[in-house]
């Protein structure tokens, strides 16, 4: 014990503070310290789709467009493109049509994108060429690969200018059978010839690791016009397509990278695009050790991009415009540490070792309190540390779904609908938000979150099935109404007349952390209010997905994060042809209502405006009545920043915010030192205690030496 502590002490004397969770050498320089919870599986832009991967892909890859960092509502801005493209509509004969032409006439929608010249990829061995201009590392033997072992061991790297062909190449990669691109299903419908290409590639039998040169395949939907210009052709009108161009699926991938990584033997060293991305972004991934940390460093060849000089009205006051016009990025290096658990991460943030953090549910009371108006604010302790709180309602929804194919809760029968409505009334989402989300959420009145076109505030926006407007606010209907609905459905007091026992419903969930237990208990309590017994069936994630796909789940918790800020991206979750079971679409409840589907198709292609609002209102009325979801809530993201972090305006759409971020390392060092003074007197106590413990032993020994037999 003493040895351990004294070792710590000796070591600590050299480097204070003692409790720094990473080597302290770097904290004085322009390095941002952040965390990742789960190791990313895919960093290949064609297959990467999850939030934890976007943390890295967002900084490394550059799709043609991006969301403006400061402007709200979210606006698209050009990134590598010269401008945000407008589509040109053509009819079957290839004639140009006006933008307001009827949908069925439009047979082609053409987006022409011109990218800025002079953008270069970050240095990578795949680009390295010898004096003769041949790629140095495209024909390596196994032994050579084993010799190099890791990317940093390749002595030569190279770079190359970004061309339109790289974008076209990536679009073709979406059809690559081994990349299993998650958007192939959607894009295959729209991008001309993509599904044909996918089918063709799938039928070709080639080894998993072999290099497949996609440049040799014809893809009519994506064509290079000149070195800097390319054209994407859609088979129908799809106004939302432009939003996709801001996602990493459309980021350029150089064919050299594929050729490089496809060499046999690379995979055994974990050398693949999934682990070592190659992009044009402000950062490149220098270190990818998913067991410990991932390090992004500034891309030396990053093109000239400037901090925006206009934004929301309040941005100047909040200091977001201080660096207007400065060249991006500001930070040299971003260290992501693996933090699998919230608590250590939260504590390290409080100690000043991580620069920003979400608010851990269990640290919530410590950080946030609600003022008299019900608005969140920082607790005095936090405020004293000059921590900054940012709140943003996320364009997402978390809900409980009924499987509409289920024989008990699903279907169009009045019995089932009334049962669903009764449950929707009984499950007290407000309580759920306050217990499990610390109040960080807005109860949903329908699928559309605030901030998305079509969402209505106030009395006009409430879901009349579940809420009533009283005293100037939406109030959940009382439990008695739910019970009445249940009675009407044929389950008086929750008893199933066919069995005479309480109705048993099943909640399907994946097993996760300890916190889930109380959530499950809470669900059970909610259903018990109606006399219904809720059985939680937990399975692993894959099996759960499988169940969902086969339509075997009954009630489940589900959520949706907007891909882009458009109502279509939410309402399509209820669109019949997107049913999970029949098409493996995103309609997880398998809700199918022809009236809804027709209106949806109409709404989809309308521009924002009164007409669209009216259609959306009708759509909402339909689904509120049918009640395939318990509408749940729209989560709010609270994020905290230390005083030394600048330009951390929350942007729930953009994933590439790190390039705007700035830090003040000097302040950080000072604060860390101030907050982390070790309580050394404990060691003295421990030492004293150990010495005191020795005394009786010594006394005993002395006595024994002196003892006589009588």
């Amino acid at each position: 014990m003493l040895i351990v502590l004294s070792a710590g002490q000796a070591y600590g004397a050299l480097t204070e503070p003692w409790n720094a969770p990473y080597p302290l050498g770097a904290r004085g320089s322009s390095v941002l310290f952040s965390t990742f919870q789960e190791r990313p599986k895919h960093l290949d832009p064609a297959s990467s789709y999850s939030e934890n991967e976007a943390l890295f892909t967002g900084q490394v890859y550059e799709p043609p467009l991006q969301y403006h960092f400061l402007k709200r509502p979210y606006t698209l801005a050009p990134l590598t493109a010269e401008a945000v493209p407008s589509p040109v509509y053509l009819d079957a004969q290839g004639r140009m049509l006006p933008a307001d032409a009827p949908d069925q006439d439009i047979k082609r929608a053409v987006y022409r994108l011109k990218i800025r010249p002079g953008i270069r990829f970050a240095p990578h061995p795949a680009f390295a060429r010898d004096a003769a201009g041949r790629a140095r590392y495209h024909t390596l033997t196994r032994a050579e690969i084993d010799h190099f072992g890791a990317l940093e061991n390749f002595p030569y790297t190279g770079t190359r200018e970004l061309t339109a062909a790289d974008y076209v190449y990536e679009i073709a990669r979406l059809a690559h059978p081994h990349l299993h691109s998650p958007i192939l299903g959607v894009m295959g419908r729209y991008i001309l010839g993509l599904d044909v290409l996918a089918k063709r590639l799938r039928s070709e039998d080639f080894a998993e690791d072999a290099y497949l040169d996609l440049r040799q395949f014809e893809l009519p939907g994506a064509r290079v016009i000149d070195r800097y210009t390319f054209e994407i052709t859609l088979a129908e009108k799809y106004p939302q397509f432009v939003f996709w161009l801001a996602m990493s699926f459309f980021a350029p991938v150089p064919w050299e990278a594929d050729a490089f990584y496809a060499q046999p033997g690379m995979a055994a060293h974990n050398l693949s695009l999934d682990w070592h991305p190659v992009g044009t972004g402000p950062y490149r991934l220098r270190e990818n050790n998913p067991n410990r940390r991932m390090v992004l460093v500034r891309n030396p060849d990053f093109h000239d991009e400037r901090y925006p000089s206009e934004g929301e009205a309040s941005d100047a006051a909040r200091g977001f415009l201080k660096r207007a016009g400065a060249r991006l990025p500001f930070i040299d290096e971003v260290d992501f540490m693996l933090e699998r658990e919230e608590i250590p991460e939260w504590n390290k943030f409080l100690q000043g070792y991580y620069d920003s953090s979400g608010v851990a549910p269990d640290g919530f009371d410590q950080a946030i309190r609600f003022n008299v108006d019900g608005q969140p604010e920082l607790t005095p302790v936090m405020a004293a540390r000059h921590i900054v709180l940012n709140v943003a309602t996320q364009p997402s929804i978390s809900y409980l779904g009924f499987n509409m194919l289920d024989s008990v809760v699903g279907g169009e029968s009045a019995r089932a609908r009334l049962l669903r409505q009764a449950i929707a009334v009984a499950v007290d989402i407000e309580e759920m938000i306050s217990i499990f989300g610390n109040g960080r959420g807005v109860p949903a009145q329908g699928p559309l979150p605030p901030g998305i076109f079509g969402h209505r505030e106030g009395a006009a926006g409430i879901n009349p099935v579940v809420y009533e407007w009283k005293d100037g606010r939406a109030q959940r209907r009382p439990l008695t109404q739910a019970q009445a609905l249940l009675r009407e459905a044929g389950y008086p007091a929750g008893v199933d007349p066919t069995t005479g026992h309480p109705l048993v419903l099943y909640f399907d969930a994946t097993t996760t952390g300890p916190d889930m237990k109380s959530l499950f208990n809470w669900y059970r309590k909610q259903f018990a209010k109606l006399g219904i017994e809720l059985v939680i069936r937990t399975t692993d994630y894959n099996r759960f997905q499988d169940k969902m796909k086969k339509g075997q789940a009954q009630i489940f918790s589900w959520g949706w994060n907007a891909d882009y800020p458009d109502p279509e991206n939410f309402l399509f979750l209820l669109y019949g042809p997107h049913s999970k079971v029949s098409t493996d679409g995103e309609n997880a409840t398998n809700y199918a209502n022809p009236a809804f589907d027709a209106l949806f198709r109409q709404m989809r292609s309308l521009p924002d405006g009164a007409v669209r609002q009216a259609v959306i209102d009708r759509l909402l009325t339909l689904v509120r009545y049918d009640c395939p979801w318990i509408w749940g809530f729209h989560p709010q993201a609270y994020s905290l920043q230390h005083a030394w972090v600048g330009n951390a305006k929350p942007n729930t759409m953009a994933r590439n915010g790190l390039k705007y971020r700035s830090i003040d390392p000097t302040l950080r060092v000072a604060q860390q030192r101030e907050w982390n003074q070790p309580v050394t007197r404990v060691l003295l106590w421990a030492g004293g205690f150990a010495v005191a413990g020795l005394i009786p032993a010594l006394v005993g020994q002395y006595r024994r030496r002196r003892a006589t037999a009588l």
Binding site: R704, R705, R706, A707, T708, A709, L710
Partner: protein, 535 residues
């Protein structure tokens, strides 16, 4: 002033609540240059007294009173630290079991040298030279090499010599030897006794010698003290005790101690008796080293081509030192272990050719009584269950009540109350247990009883009783005994014929009178010469 004077020594054992005095006021003197022997049966407190002198009692025991004066200094009233200077330096101690008393992982030379360093301050070469001298003095050849050996490389007698060297290393004034020869064979015992005696006389030490064996005492004692139940009953010179014992207990002990006298042994039976058991060419081998894949490379032959005949109603004694193969022979005959060659004909049946079931039935005729009365009965069973076991296995005794009556009768036959039937083994003394074991064997009405050292764990007086019982039973039931023992005194009392075994072979056999008193084989002769005898 005597070298050692013990005054009113009281030693207690047991919990504080219910103490029992194991030594109740012992008074004893040991003079310089003379040997005092403390004799007593087990539990008499003789060992406790010896340990009490050096304050090395087991934890359960403690000294409650008295004084132990070593040249006038009371050892009970000095500090533990001072006592450490007494032990080893002024009092040397030799323990009973040389097997356990030496540190198994320490070189023999170091174990001796340790004392030299501690008390004589010797180190390095001086220490080594002295160790060699000591080892040579106690009769260990090639001492220069052997001091680097570990205890397990020494034989029992050699270990006891090393032990003695340790005790002598501190050049003590007093040597306490706590039954130093009990664990040894007679021939070794004789050597050790001679060595002890000569060392004691050469160095002019006082010696306190503890033993239960009057014959041994007879050999070494200048003064004899007899203890019984924690008290000294008689003390006197060698001549006093052996020629004019006054206390009845001493007289009793002298009477029951086995002697090798021609008049005691029963005469051989008439030859016309039918042979009950005929063993021919028995061999038992144990695997020694094993090679790769467990192939046996060498073997140790424990029983080597032995022929043996036992007649009905006859007692045949198998005599030998430890390792002679006598016990192995007994178990081999019983088919309790694998016999490698030979045949046994028992009552006309080839015993070794029986299948499993027939063997179980045949076991009825040949039974066994073991040495250790403590481990030979399952402590979890009542006396009744123990005795019944054979009957149940052999299907004897009829009904439950029938068996119960039979058990009661058997108990009476072996001299126990029938009421003991529901009690457990641990409620009986050693001798009583041995009686129960005999009853268990008799329950299946055997014709031959193999007695494997049935008395060696017992005190002499109990031993005599058991031998009497066996003789009586033989007369009543016509049993034959195969009596395995190392104790020639016992043989003389019970055997019709004697077979002497040495290193797995039979070296001599014949009627008791002939073998014990007119031995022809040199091994038998040397064996008999080594046995300490009472006058």
């Amino acid at each position: 002033m005597s070298l050692l004077e013990i005054q009113d020594l009281i030693i207690e054992v047991g919990r504080a609540g219910a103490p029992a005095q194991v030594v109740a006021g012992l008074n004893l003197c040991v003079e310089r240059g003379s040997t005092t022997v403390l004799v007593g049966e087990s539990g008499s407190g003789k060992s406790m007294s010896a340990l009490g002198i050096v304050r090395l009692l087991p934890r359960a025991a403690r000294i409650k009173g008295g004084a132990v004066l070593l040249e006038g200094q009371d050892l009970l009233r000095i500090s533990e630290a001072a006592m450490c200077d007494v032990r080893g330096a002024r009092i040397g101690f030799v323990f009973q079991e040389p097997q356990d008393a030496l540190n198994p992982v320490m070189r023999v030379g170091d174990q001796i040298g340790e004392v030299l360093t501690r008390h004589r301050g010797l180190r390095g070469l001086a220490r080594r030279t002295r160790v060699v001298e000591l080892l040579e003095a106690v009769g260990i050849p090639e001492a220069g090499q052997r001091l680097n050996g570990y205890p397990h490389q020494f034989s029992g007698g050699m270990k006891q010599r090393v032990m003695l060297a340790i005790a002598l290393a501190g050049e003590p004034d007093l040597l306490i030897a706590d039954a130093p020869t009990t664990a040894l064979d007679v021939s070794t015992q004789a050597q050790i006794l001679t060595l002890l005696r000569s060392e004691q006389q050469q160095r002019g030490m006082g010696m306190l010698f503890i033993t239960h064996d009057l014959a041994v005492a007879h050999q070494v004692a200048d003064t004899l003290a007899v203890m019984q139940a924690g008290r000294l009953v008689e003390i006197g010179s060698h001549a006093d005790i052996f020629e004019r014992p006054t206390h009845p207990y001493t007289q009793h002990l002298l009477r029951v101690s086995p002697r090798i006298q021609p008049d005691l042994a029963p005469p051989p039976l008439p030859v016309e008796a039918e042979p009950l058991l005929i063993a021919r060419g028995l061999c038992v081998r144990f695997p020694g080293r094993r090679g790769l894949f467990g192939r046996i490379i060498t073997q140790v032959t424990a029983v080597d081509n032995v022929d043996l005949i036992v007649h009905g109603g006859e007692t045949v004694a198998i005599v030998g030192e430890s390792g002679s193969g006598k016990t192995t022979l007994g178990r081999g005959l019983l088919r309790l272990l694998q016999v490698d060659a030979g045949s046994v004909n028992f009552g006309g049946r080839e015993f070794f050719e029986l299948d499993r079931k027939a063997l179980r039935q045949a076991r009825r005729d040949i039974q066994v009584v073991f040495q250790d009365p403590f481990s030979s009965m399952n402590p979890r069973l009542t006396v009744r269950e123990i005795i019944e076991e054979g009957m149940t296995a052999q299907g004897l005794g009829g009904s439950r009540q029938g068996r119960e009556q039979r058990v009661a009768r058997l108990l009476e036959q072996v001299g126990l109350e029938a009421a003991s039937i529901a009690r457990f083994p641990h409620e009986f003394s050693g001798g009583q247990r041995q009686r129960i074991c005999i009853a268990r064997a008799l329950a299946v009405e055997p014709k031959l009883l193999v007695c494997d050292e049935p008395t060696s764990a017992l005190d002499v007086s109990v031993q005599a009783q058991i031998l009497t019982l066996l003789r009586t039973l033989q007369q009543e039931m016509g049993l034959a005994y195969l009596f395995i023992t190392h104790n020639l005194g016992v043989v003389a009392q019970i055997a019709h014929r004697v077979v002497v075994m040495h290193q797995g072979r039979i070296v001599e056999s014949g009627p008791t009178q002939t073998v014990l008193f007119k031995p022809t084989h040199p091994y038998t002769q040397s064996l008999l010469a080594a046995v300490p005898r009472l006058p």
